[in-house]
């Protein structure tokens, strides 16, 4: 056992660190470091900077233009980006639809879509959730009816993260209403500019507009935009859900935010409060442990080889602990400043660092709900790992 990174990996880390240090625009870094929401341009600018360096698809194999990094290298890359205050990569294109296209797409689909994802030219969003479905993703009600070379799609998607920026949406649609639940679902790629597509904002409890409802009314979708076979969409959907959970622990981000918590707590004199100091220590320790747990899962996946690339049920452990830690950090940051965490969207009241702490706490409540609620993750652990 050796928990050190190899010399090559350490050199790679230095290379990433240098690159991000040089190329990350200061205005983006400042936003990230202070918990300010990024806009579309911020994300796209950073994606294009990475793409210029050949790092536009960090998890992609060489054959599709990716750097062909090992899981350890991907981990190092994301950790360094997070530490330096780079934006989180927008996963809907890079980590969700791209692996599906690589595994199940036609060569035409691959050529049409993959390069634009990597280049930051097309923004994707996810059309899985539907109103009332919640964790029960297979209860898809959106209908797609084949009509010659087209499908005609009607229905509604919800919780569509950053759908207001998206050029394309990948959707689960029901193509065989007679079939049982998981069967009869197909996987369609839909141009957001198609007539009949309407995006309506959902404002969340922190006052932010991150998620949306997407209404689909008689939307014509070329049959060429079907992934794989009709009615086998659930297979691709599950494959995608597996990939969604790479880097699910968010170690790099949590480390950056922990450092911010410690700076804020020190500035507020809260580390002299033994109870507060103990709470900070607890989350720091939990994060130390989770980092190793994450590396263990990564190593096991690497050992299992390329063919079994989607994370196993162990990813549920990372999801639960990772989200708990991130939520605990936002809560402690808010508590550290006390009253000055309460002013709502006021940049110039109280200390600079206090401005987004109340809304940050509220916003991160989503982490234990979205992406498979933590309750669903515990079901997975008890069934898939423990066999209960």
């Amino acid at each position: 056992m050796d928990l050190n990174f190899t010399l090559e990996e350490s050199a790679f880390r230095a290379e990433v660190r240098n690159f991000v240090g040089e190329k990350l625009p200061a205005h983006i870094r400042d936003k990230v470091m202070n918990g300010v929401h990024l806009n579309r341009d911020d994300h796209i600018l950073w994606q294009r900077i990475l793409h210029q360096r050949g790092w536009g698809g960090p998890g992609w194999p060489r054959e599709f233009g990716g750097p062909g990094w090992t899981p350890a290298e991907q981990y190092i890359f994301e950790e360094e980006c997070a530490a330096a205050g780079a934006p989180r990569l927008i996963s809907f294109g890079l980590k969700m639809i791209a692996p599906v296209l690589m595994a199940f797409g036609t060569p035409q689909q691959q050529q049409r879509f993959l390069p634009k994802i990597m280049a930051g030219e097309e923004w994707w969003c996810q059309g899985y959730s539907e109103p009332g479905a919640g964790s029960d993703l297979a209860s898809v009600k959106t209908r797609a009816v084949r009509n010659g070379d087209f499908y005609v799609v009607n229905g509604q998607k919800t919780w569509t993260t950053l759908g207001q920026y998206a050029d394309w949406i990948f959707c689960l649609v029901r193509t065989d209403p007679a079939a049982k639940k998981q069967n009869g679902i197909s996987f369609l790629l839909i141009d957001m500019k198609s007539p009949g597509v309407t995006v309506r904002p959902i404002i969340t409890l922190d006052g932010a507009h991150e998620v949306n409802e997407v209404w689909l009314e008689d939307v014509k979708v070329p049959a060429a935009n079907l992934i794989g076979e009709e009615n086998r969409g659930w297979t691709y959907a599950k494959f995608l859900l597996g990939h969604e959970r790479t880097n699910i622990a968010g170690i790099g981000i949590a480390k950056r935010e922990l450092a911010r918590l410690k700076r804020i707590a020190a500035a507020e004199g809260r580390l002299d409060d033994p109870l507060f100091a103990a709470r900070v220590a607890q989350v720091e320790i939990d994060l130390m442990a989770l980092e190793i747990t994450n590396l263990r899962v990564l190593a096991a996946e690497s050992a299992a080889g390329r063919e079994k690339k989607a994370p196993g049920p162990e990813a549920s452990i990372l999801k639960i602990k990772g989200t708990e830690i991130q939520q605990a950090i936002t809560e402690l940051m808010m508590q550290a400043v006390g009253a000055y965490a309460l002013p709502f969207k006021q940049a110039d009241i109280g200390p600079d660092y206090a401005a987004n702490l109340g809304t940050g706490y509220c916003n991160l409540r989503k982490l234990s709900i979205f992406g498979g609620s933590n309750e669903i993750q515990k079901n997975i652990i008890s069934q898939m790992i423990l066999g209960l």
Binding site: L275, G338, Y340, P343, Q346, I369, N374, E375
Partner: protein, 364 residues
């Protein structure tokens, strides 16, 4: 021993509940929140007409002469409706402080005006760390931080360090020269203000005995703390009920999600927190006027710990059990969440009170 409320008390609570149900719907509240001042003078006048602004005032000054128990019932009802108007600040804390500190003349001038809604008076106590308020030659300078409802006050009761190094209490007209009010919304949709005083003219209210003034401010804030606890219980009651209903109606995997045992047990835990919080809010109401300072503060700290922990547990889990819906601005649930979050941090957070309780218990 008797946990029943009197008929009078029940009638009062019903009146306020009906007012909230009819005149303070969630939609109405949203419109008020989104309005420029963020609160409604019309609603305030309605409360005056109901008589609840006079609840805590002596009958001599047009008041009803009620106490913390009745205030608690009213606060609970306002809590469920998430009242945005300055009831706690202006109808509970300020009158309690004025009664303890100010001259008969001042009381005669201001208390009836508070009762009729004609004047809004708010205590501004917590100093901004970098700029504590000090008095020089009868004028005040410095900054008060995050004063709840400070922006709508006609008159501010400002604590300040006097030239003699003591704490004094001063009346400052909010429109006076040298008074700059920076009014803003807070996370929970309420309003607060930072108050910057630059040589602002002020009138000394207290008799100039440092300890008595500090104790009076503390006593008023302790009455406020008990009222805040009751507000929290009102919100948590509503939150637990709404979440229970949601679990009964929301279907997933072919059944109401309330059938899932893990969620049932979470709800049971929420109920445990709620009932313990309710018990401590009763205790807080009964003890918040206890003249024995150490005993009073020990009890209030215990109440704030229990209620703060319940706020956190119930708020977080209510959102969690509502799933994505719990995250939306559209449901009142997320607004209860934010008010409970703010309450936990108001008048000292859980850690503060836990440690204060430990100190006071040890000394006892």
């Amino acid at each position: 021993m008797d946990f029943e409320f009197t008929e009078d008390q029940r009638a009062l609570e019903d009146t306020v509940r009906r007012f909230v149900a009819r005149d303070y719907t969630f939609e109405k509240r949203r419109a008020i929140r989104d309005s420029d001042p963020g609160w409604s003078r019309e609603v305030w006048q309605g409360l005056a007409d109901l008589g609840v602004l006079a609840l805590n005032l002596d009958e001599d000054y047009g008041g009803l002469g009620y106490g913390p128990q009745e205030t608690g019932l009213v606060m609970g009802a306002f809590g469920a409706g998430l009242l945005l108007e300055p009831y706690l600040a202006a109808a509970v804390i300020a009158p309690a402080l004025i009664r303890r500190v100010a001259s008969a003349n001042f009381q005669e001038e201001w208390l009836p005006a508070i009762a009729t809604g004609a004047a809004i008076v708010v205590l501004a106590h917590a100093d901004a760390r970098q700029a504590p308020v000090t008095e020089i030659g009868g004028n005040l300078s410095g900054r008060k931080a995050v004063v709840a409802h400070g922006g709508c006050a006609d008159l501010l009761l400002v604590s300040a360090r006097t030239a003699r190094g003591e704490t004094g209490l001063f009346a400052v007209t909010s429109g006076a020269e040298g008074v700059h009010l920076r009014d803003y919304p807070t996370l929970d949709g309420q309003r607060a203000a930072d108050i910057v005083l630059s040589n602002a003219p002020a009138m000394r209210l207290d008799a100039g005995t440092h300890d008595a003034t500090l104790e009076a401010i503390e006593a008023a804030l302790d009455i406020g703390l008990a009222a805040l606890c009751a507000e929290a219980v009102g919100i948590m009651d509503a939150t637990v009920a709404a979440t229970t209903d949601y679990l009964k109606t929301r279907q997933q995997f072919g059944q109401p999600i309330g059938r899932f045992q893990a969620l049932q047990h979470r709800m049971a835990d929420m109920l445990l927190h709620l009932e313990q919080a309710r018990s401590m809010s009763y205790i807080a109401a009964l003890h918040c006027t206890d003249p024995n300072r150490a005993a009073r503060r020990r009890t209030l700290s215990a109440a704030k710990v229990t209620i703060g922990q319940a706020c956190r547990f119930i708020a977080q889990n209510a959102v969690q059990l509502h799933g994505g819906m719990g995250m939306t601005d559209e449901l009142i649930l997320s607004h209860w969440f934010k008010r409970l979050t703010a309450i936990e941090m108001t008048f000292g957070d859980t850690d503060f009170h836990l440690q204060r309780f430990a100190r006071l218990s040890r000394a006892a």
